[in-house]
Symmetry: C2
Subunit: 495 residues, 2 copies
């Protein structure tokens, strides 16, 4: 996926979605048929407790159990399921490189890694705000009649774990995760249904220092992979801006999340549709007009003129910009009132990373979510975090020519020159590996030409040949592949 010329659309729980095409080939292969699947659905649903016992016995659930296969052949695709990816070695190296940078940056800031199940109770992700992420939930009923979902984002699981841990953990928590997230769209073709997302979250810090620290980590990441502030920036605002405007029109707080989700679509659907949606949830025309006016503001000074200087929105944002200067990334950030983000749970500062050429979707996004825990029945804790997907960043790096050149690297290739010496070659491999050297051991009798070709492909530094006459003298032949220099080395001296 990552390195291919066609860019792939992926799910961004904290990002707007993208809509590019993925081109799948159509190789089809034969496998045993399972033609009974479709019709078994309703029948199985009628006997949910007919659990089979004993080895090989059938079991039923709300859905059909795996069918008993019959002899008729049916074609399957050798591609991964629609919208998902395989990671062959070249893609995996890139993924590992990316994740390594996510992890290194997180650790530099003293964050600890966590993870949660990719499968969660559906209830964890249900919110009432009409978010895209909720509408595209990859949910289903398991064989025990439980509603479950492949997680669309990591934050609700984190909130669940924080509530579960309760007072047993010392705050603040500084946690990061790199996990796969899923979405399901029925109608579109070729959009990716999974992506990986890097999250960093700080739980227990009410001050804007937390948001500033998170953005500092993202900047550190960008610098680490070669991206500068002339490539990328952050648009920053606060949901308290909206809250103060809505408050001045006595709009009930319960509508706040819904209004944010509507506002987030401002660049995707016509402005009249936005106004209409706002009207539908009960925002007066005059309030909607003022809201839209305020959202067009691009400077903090102008915002202060409009809102007055007393509110939390202004003071939070001022503090954030002041801290950004001290952290050393003020050239990366700018105020933009139109940024509200598409998740219902944000309550304060919100931000998103964007490419300055405007070619790509948001690279990352995050903000403060001080009231998420109570929606799960927990005690609220001040919290903020961000999500950073694995797709847009790869597109950007490709665009900028910053994708690293990642090849397989093996220090030694060890080869017996005679089938009878395969055991000897094995002992040489063991000896080198015990010294921490990576060894590709040639496992068959192959011509030397083949061995050299393989050595070149895996970028081996040395070729170690085990030949009969040398072996009888306790020696092996060591060839440095870059220089072509070749020596006989005593086995005991092989390092």
């Amino acid at each position: 996926m990552l390195a291919k010329p066609c860019s792939l659309a992926i799910l961004h729980p904290r990002l707007p979605s993208c809509t590019r095409q993925v081109f799948l080939s159509n190789f089809q292969f034969l496998i045993p048929a399972h033609s009974r699947y479709r019709s078994s659905l309703s029948a199985a649903a009628q006997s949910p407790l007919d659990g089979g016992a004993g080895a090989g016995g059938g079991r039923t659930g709300a859905l059909s159990p795996p069918p008993v296969t019959d002899e008729v052949a049916q074609k399957i695709d050798v591609n991964p399921p629609k919208g998902t990816r395989d990671f062959p070695p070249e893609e995996m190296r890139l993924r590992n490189w990316l994740f390594h940078n996510f992890r290194e940056v997180s650790r530099l800031s003293g964050f600890e890694e966590v993870d949660f199940p990719v499968l969660e109770s559906e209830a964890l992700f249900i919110r009432k705000a009409g978010e895209e992420i909720r509408d595209q939930l990859y949910c289903f009923e398991d064989r025990g009649n439980r509603r479950v979902a492949l997680r669309p984002e990591l934050t609700p699981s984190l909130a669940r774990l924080v509530i579960q841990k309760g007072k047993s953990v010392p705050f603040p928590l500084k946690w990061f995760a790199v996990g796969q997230c899923w979405r399901y769209e029925r109608m579109t073709r070729g959009r990716r249904r999974e992506h990986y997302q890097w999250n960093m979250d700080i739980i227990g810090v009410p001050e804007v220092t937390a948001e500033a620290e998170l953005m500092s980590s993202i900047v550190t990441f960008f610098k680490k992979v070669g991206i500068s502030s002339s490539d990328v920036g952050f648009k920053v605002s606060s949901r308290k801006v909206l809250q103060e405007v809505l408050g001045s029109y006595s709009v009930p707080e319960i509508l706040f999340g819904k209004v944010c989700i509507i506002i987030d679509k401002i660049e995707k659907i016509p402005i009249d549709d936005i106004k209409n949606e706002l009207k539908l949830v009960g925002i007066s025309e005059v309030a909607a007009e003022e809201l839209l006016q305020v959202l067009s503001i691009k400077s903090l000074e102008k915002l202060e003129e409009v809102l007055g200087g007393a509110g939390e929105a202004i003071s939070d944002l001022k503090q954030l910009f002041s801290l950004a200067e001290k952290f050393g990334y003020s050239d990366w950030i700018q105020f933009d009132a139109s940024v509200v983000r598409g998740l219902a749970y944000y309550t304060g500062i919100v931000f998103e990373g964007f490419d300055r050429e405007g070619k790509l979707r948001a690279i990352c996004g995050g903000g403060r979510y001080d009231k998420l825990l109570s929606t799960f029945g927990g005690d609220d804790l001040p919290a903020c975090g961000f999500g950073f997907g694995d797709a847009v960043i790869i597109e950007l790096l490709k665009e900028k020519g910053l994708l690293p050149d990642l090849n397989q690297q093996v220090e030694n290739i060890v080869c017996a020159l005679d089938k009878k010496l395969q055991g000897a070659a094995a002992s040489v491999a063991t000896k080198l590996r015990e010294k921490g050297q990576t060894v590709d051991l040639v496992l068959e009798s192959k011509p030397l030409k083949w061995v050299f070709k393989r050595a070149a492909r895996i970028n081996a530094q040395r070729l170690i040949l085990v030949g009969l006459s040398e072996w009888q003298r306790g020696m092996v032949s060591v060839k440095i592949l870059a220089s072509g220099e070749q020596n006989e080395v005593e086995l005991a001296n092989l390092e």
Copy 2:
């Protein structure tokens, strides 16, 4: 999970399953209700194409879409779904340590990492042999009416990818993966439904050198984590032993996989049931008797007496034991004809790792599967591999007192002594991080006592205090926490 005193049962695609209890607490919290779920199943199934459009519009599939929530509150569990695990920092450190060792060992042998989707087409896992793994498939129908499954093992996906790559990849492939695998059991309580599995596979080598290389890697892993051949061993056999016995009774080859699955249950169900199952698939009583006799053989010499010396079973096994000696792990392996493994697709050498005290289930298992690709419609390639789960090894390490002591390690904790100096502390943190130093930045005004407590908990090496009078002189106070030594250091000289 991993470090808790109660041991957890997990799924081992290539291992027999375990059946221990997991104790879940019962904290319940309030979330919005979704009481319409159950009844919506059949209704939704009747209108599978009623896809909604537009923002917030509902979509339907064969299953119900996420419900529109109403105001009635309903309890959910803050525990992860039944049979799954969270990984809070302490568990994640252990998981990372384990996976790091899996990866390091794989790379030592020149293997490349790969991965596949955790969600695959169900058809990929359907086989006719009555395997436990197939009967416990975590399968469901997605909202597009496709039968999918959370993968129970990695090998079928690998086979799929190898077929897809076709002749474009140079053989042999030496691939490894560390991935999460799932199973679903309806009737039992408290068994784990997911585990992680380390796989190494060699595709394209027909010789037993490949199996020998794989076992060498597992031994390297064991040594790396402190386990010796007095703790653990491998039982090795070949399915060709069974094949030769069945062949001598003219049992059709198509029954082979089924017979192996029955035989694999030999230690779990009464011998009369085994005989009965063999009879049911069409094995004569006399053939079954000989089969069971051969399976009790524990020495290669005895086997040779019974089978004669000409067959492939004997020559493969002899070569493997000879190579094991050269690789240096002959004290780890022993012949045991009763080992057949519980997967239908093995065709040759099979092996499993076991603890010598006999307290635990198999630690790992694998073998040769030369005919798997053709079951998916591909051209067969010689192949072998193993699976190594994350649960039994942790139990064993715990048992032996070999679990590593993994604590959070942060080099510096940086703290402003005055709220006004938080920006200054931020700049100190940035400076240190740019030099590659890990820094926990205190984000709030906290008493020094609190800061020292936190420093101790995160095992910080240095406490860097930013106080007003020092800062005005361009200095910070640096305290080495182990010795208590404290100095003022010029900011420019801070390393």
